[in-house]
């Protein structure tokens, strides 16, 4: 149980940062690659993660289960993949409406990256809930999960910027990320449930983010 949740949190972190890096690639043809484009991307990702943490924490209060956890991965995959289809027309439309590339890139980043990132942000607090048995251990569990998910983010950033962009097209990388999300969602669905005895009896309600 514990290693599986950690693996999932790791993959969640990996995908968030890989996706964020691709964001720069996706926006560049319409809004350039100036510092403001990265400003827009980072703003939207931080904002989305903030919302995702909040929602993930709320969701974890009522009947937390690994199957619902698996659902988060599946839904994020469902919202991530269509990027391949709608990124171009959405950016085209925004480019025509908004002349200033700063607000253009911010709006485009919001439309393209916000929903999948909010859902990906729900992973961390939810995994804390699945692993915490009692209040005393909650800090330790949360710390360990931040460790794995942030390590995942670091490796996602590195692998994407050093290798993925050299080997694959942007759309191929998004497909890979979607497949990872679906596979680990399946892992959570099939392998975790039987072992979730702890969360049912726990009265602990740890705060996920600090």
């Amino acid at each position: 149980m514990i290693p599986i949740i950690h693996l999932l949190a790791f993959c969640g972190g990996f995908i968030i940062m890989s996706f964020e890096l691709l964001g720069g690639r996706i926006l560049a043809p319409y809004f350039g690659s100036g510092v403001y484009v990265w400003g827009s991307i980072i703003t939207i990702f931080m904002l989305s993660l903030a919302i995702g943490y909040l929602l993930g924490g709320r969701l974890s209060v009522k009947n937390p289960s690994p199957r619902k956890f698996a659902g988060i991965f599946a839904i994020s995959a469902i919202f991530l993949y269509p990027m391949i289809l709608y990124a171009q027309p959405v950016m085209e439309f925004i480019f025509l409406q908004i002349e200033d590339p700063r607000y253009g890139s911010l709006t485009a980043a919001a439309f393209l990256f916000m929903v999948p990132t909010i859902i990906l942000g729900m992973i961390s607090p939810y995994s804390v809930r699945l692993l915490v048995d009692n209040v005393e251990e909650s800090g330790k569990v949360a710390g360990a999960l931040y460790f794995t998910s942030t390590l995942g983010s670091a490796i996602g950033t590195l692998v994407t910027s050093f290798y993925f962009v050299l080997w694959f097209e942007v759309d191929t990388i998004i497909t890979i990320l979607t497949l990872i999300l679906l596979s680990i969602g399946l892992i959570a669905w099939f392998f975790a449930p039987g072992q979730l005895g702890a969360s049912k009896n726990s009265a602990a309600n740890p705060s996920p983010g600090a």
């Binding site: 560049a28 043809p29 690659s33 097209e169």
Partner: protein, 330 residues
């Protein structure tokens, strides 16, 4: 325990930090001095101006009569742009002289677009030669614009303007406004960092749509590393045939596409006589700039049936696949 006796911590700490602190102050003083007063470097170069912009490090230095602009501190010998202060018209760099050979195919451009300002060598020369032409130079870095104006005699006029914008955004907007240019010069690929979204098939297609039927595209590009092959195949993909002009004694390569807006089959074949006649006509105009236009015309003629000298199996760069900076180091 130590909390009760703060002095027992402070004494060793002071000793420990004394040395680094001293060198820190020394470094800070050096930095202050170099940024305030021009300093003379070992090779006889005087640093005139140093600035860190959002995109690069800008260094203006003078060695004898040459005033040069560098975009990096670590390879301070590779200048982006140089001006001979005694003879500011003389084009110091081979690639700027090579870029002027685009005029052989459109000797009287009315609308000119230049991507990448640098020291402003090309827009300054072109506005002198064609005072009536409307020249728009796209430069993303406001610090570069400031330096070109302050140190390299660049003056904006009604006909010679700078647009501070990402060239990709500019090209897209210009296409929407149906702007057309007789001469487009791409010169944004000099520094340590290559803007990858300005190297792709999609960008070149957008640029192509901005050319008049007789418009010429001139691009200063890479002549070495894996990038040479990838980039060549990208140009081939968009324009079909192009003139692959390599510097005789420099590592530069300039791509020239006459009538780049047209399908390769619709383009006029390059006639030797016409080209040499054009070179003759341009000689008096270009000689103050030290552009050896006759020699360049001969070099161009030599490239016409030359076999390709790059690996044609390398993928063209696209918005989906453009790791230009990584390919350059391969």
């Amino acid at each position: 325990m130590s909390l009760l006796k703060p002095s027992s911590i402070h004494i060793p700490a002071d000793k420990r930090f004394a040395q680094p602190l001293k060198s820190f102050w020394a470094l800070l003083t050096t930095l202050l001095v170099t940024s305030v007063a021009p300093s003379v470097l070992a090779a006889g170069k005087t640093v005139i101006h140093e600035e860190r912009s959002l995109y690069t490090s800008i260094l203006v230095q003078q060695q004898r009569d040459l005033l040069c602009l560098n975009f990096t501190l670590k390879r301070a010998d590779s200048s982006q742009s140089c001006m001979d202060v005694k003879n500011p018209q003389r084009m110091v760099f081979a690639y700027t002289r090579m870029a002027m050979s685009g005029l052989l195919f459109n000797p009287n451009p009315k609308h000119i677009m230049i991507v990448g300002l640098g020291g402003g060598t090309l827009p300054v020369a072109l506005t002198e030669i064609f005072p009536e032409a409307e020249i728009q130079t796209v430069e993303i870095d406001p610090a570069v614009i400031g330096v070109a104006k302050r140190f390299f005699n660049f003056t904006e006029t009604a006909n010679n303007t700078i647009i501070q914008q990402d060239a990709r955004v500019f090209a897209k907007r210009a296409a929407l406004q149906k702007q057309q240019f007789d001469l487009i010069i791409l010169d944004a690929f000099n520094g340590d960092y290559i803007p990858e979204h300005l190297m792709t098939q999609e960008f070149l297609t957008e640029v192509q749509s901005l050319l008049t039927p007789d418009g010429v595209l001139v691009a200063n590009t890479f002549a070495s590393s894996d990038l040479y092959a990838h980039e060549s195949n990208t140009y081939k993909e968009v324009f079909g045939n192009f003139i692959n002009l390599k510097g005789r004694d420099s590592g530069n390569r300039v791509v020239i596409v006459p009538q780049g807006a047209l399908n390769p089959k619709q383009r006029r074949p390059i006639s030797k006589d016409l080209l040499l006649a054009q070179a003759d006509a341009l000689t008096p105009i270009l000689s103050p700039y030290a552009v050896p236009i006759k020699r360049l015309a001969k070099d161009i003629l030599k490239t016409i049936n030359a076999p390709t000298d790059w690996d044609e199996s390398k993928r063209p760069l696209t918005d989906q696949y453009s790791p230009a900076n990584l390919l350059r180091s391969q």
